[in-house]
Amino acid sequence: MSSQYLTRKVIGELLAFTTRTLVFWYILAVFIEMVLPGFVSSHLNLDMFLWSAIIAALFSLLIDPSSLFPKQSA
């Protein structure tokens, strides 16, 4: 395996992980905001989480499509 291929795999994996993390925190933040209004939104824009996740997902797909949706082994 070439080092270029490895680098793409690593960056793709990190971007995919960032996407999942941001989606997780976005859902959690929306839930917290419903229970405690203003907890997050008084300081941070909730949409920022979502847009960051979308951008990370797009880059992830661009660099290594298999990282975001890995093939399940039998």
Binding site: L14, T21, W25, L36, G38, F39, H43
Partner: protein, 498 residues
């Protein structure tokens, strides 16, 4: 031992960054360190801060498409800003980032009670003081009191207060200087004066005595409409010093029972006082009515505020209440009136000019258009139940009026700098220039705010802004709330020691 792969370290960092942010938000939300900071820049909706209302006085949120700057313009007054906080706090510092298009007098504060309306205002932007500072007037400060002099004549604030010049223009702001008033033509009258108008809440009275006993009797009633204790204190001031105080504890009813209690009479009787002006301050909350005042003084006036009660709304609380019209004699050039009950909707007249009060809880403003100000104007309130606020003296009879401010001008939006040689003020610092606008920080205590102090209503008051076509463009408001930190709270709750 296996080495951690660098990829996993990066993943751990990526996951922990939001965790740190959530920890920071939790500390902020729970006020673990006793602080909460909220910033609102009018770029969109906020869960905690609502934009200025009502519509019409405050325009819709706007954005400068070239710079991206967002703001809200204020073109009428007063305007209100509602803020919701998760905890109750002891005080708040509000920093406003704004541009001022010529509005000479602006204050910002807090609504401490909606009914009856009670506000706590602090200075935001007092144009005439800024102008004097910018023109290089000499500035002396002592004990929070600042003296500005066009020509540097006095070396200290105390010297100025002791030898106030009588032939030069003096502007005062949030400072009492009128005690130097003397009247060589005054002769004490043997007749008693009875003020049989019922007044609600705290009031300040000014009286002038010369070779006579200072004697005033205050009949008091506790109407117990709010959940609180209602202690009564009457203080007598000479200059800025308390020379006498009368106290009465609460009647024992701290509930909102609406059962009125006659609290009897508090009497101020002081002989052998030097001639001059005295202030009698009745320190009470809005549960206390002053049912009648009897005084030996011929000259006896209220200062800045009168809350008239004589209305059927209070008929149960005060036996034999006279609900007839009231005539007041006012010195102020601006006037605010408000009622909180349907029976208080009416058309008062100020110097014959009608002012239609047809909505509840709404402050109605009147401003003099006269080029030459009369000594006083008649205000007739047909139904009473009115909170009347002005800047100046208010007499209940023509004979009782006296112009204690004859050499001194209370600074307002219409004060001209060329008429003044001195300005003495306190509780004001000129705003700091910033990005083509100004930054001003206003400290406000939340003590005494009715309710749980989680739903706060801030007020921006800019008298004359609509009539003069001025506007204030507010770009950002930052609230820094403070209270005891969580550890101190826990210690005080459970009585533990460290």
């Amino acid at each position: 031992m296996r080495h951690l792969q660098p990829v996993w370290i990066v993943k751990a960092i990526i996951f922990c960054v939001p965790l740190v942010i959530v920890a920071w938000l939790t500390v902020d939300y729970l006020s673990i360190f006793g602080n909460l900071s909220i910033t609102y820049n009018f770029s969109g909706e906020s869960a905690r801060v609502k934009e200025f209302t009502p519509a019409g006085r405050a325009l819709d949120r706007e954005q400068n498409l070239r710079t991206g700057e967002t703001y809200q313009r204020i073109v009428g007054e007063p305007v209100y800003m509602n803020v919701t906080v998760p905890r109750s706090y002891d005080d708040v510092s509000v920093t406003l980032d704004y541009q001022n298009d010529g509005q000479p007098y602006t204050e910002f504060g807090l609504v401490t009670s909606e009914e009856p309306l009670s506000v706590r205002l602090q200075s935001l932007d007092i144009g005439i003081i800024n102008q004097a500072i910018n023109e290089g007037w000499s500035q002396i400060e002592s004990d929070g009191v600042t003296l500005l002099q066009r020509q540097s004549e006095f070396e200290s604030v105390a010297d100025f207060v002791d030898q106030t010049p009588e032939d030069q223009g003096i502007g005062v702001y949030r400072y009492r200087l009128s005690y130097r008033y003397t009247d060589s033509s005054y002769v004490a009258s043997p007749q008693k004066q009875v003020i049989d108008r019922v007044l609600r809440g705290g009031h300040e009275f000014w009286t002038y005595i010369d070779k006579e006993t200072l004697h005033a009797e205050f009949d008091l009633t506790d109407i117990n409409r709010d959940f609180n204790e209602d202690p009564i204190s009457i203080q007598v001031y000479r200059v800025n010093t308390i020379i006498h105080e009368e106290l009465l504890p609460d009647d024992g009813d701290a509930l909102a029972s609406a059962v009125a209690t006659d609290r009897g009479t508090l009497t101020v009787d002081l002989a052998g006082l030097e001639a001059g002006l005295y202030r009698i301050v009745v320190n009470v909350d809005d549960d206390i009515l002053i049912s009648q005042i009897r005084t030996d003084q011929e000259r006896f006036v209220a200062r800045d505020k009168v809350f008239l009660v004589n209305n059927s709304e209070y008929a149960e609380a005060v036996a034999g209440l006279d609900t007839g019209p009231t005539t007041l004699y006012l010195q102020g050039t601006e006037l605010m009136m408000q009622t909180d009950h349907t029976s208080g909707l009416q058309v008062p007249t100020i110097a014959g000019e009608p002012l239609h009060i047809d909505k509840l809880h709404v402050p109605y403003w009147w401003e003099s258009q006269d080029e030459v100000e009369p000594l006083f104007r008649e205000l007739i309130t047909p139904k009473n139940d009115l909170l009347v606020r002005t800047s100046g003296l208010i007499a209940f009879s023509e004979d009782a009026f006296f112009d204690a401010d004859y050499q001194i001008e209370q600074i307002s939006g219409s004060t001209a700098l060329e008429d003044l040689d001195y300005i003495i003020f306190k509780e004001y610092t000129a705003p700091v220039a910033d990005r083509g606008g100004y930054l001003q920080t206003i400290p406000l205590s939340l003590d005494g705010v009715v309710g749980d102090r989680k739903e706060l209503k801030f007020i921006l008051s800019a008298p004359g802004i609509e009539r003069n076509g001025h506007e204030i463009k507010v770009r950002e408001v930052k609230f820094d709330f403070h209270r005891a930190d969580l550890w101190t709270k826990l210690k005080s709750r459970f009585g533990g020691s460290s």
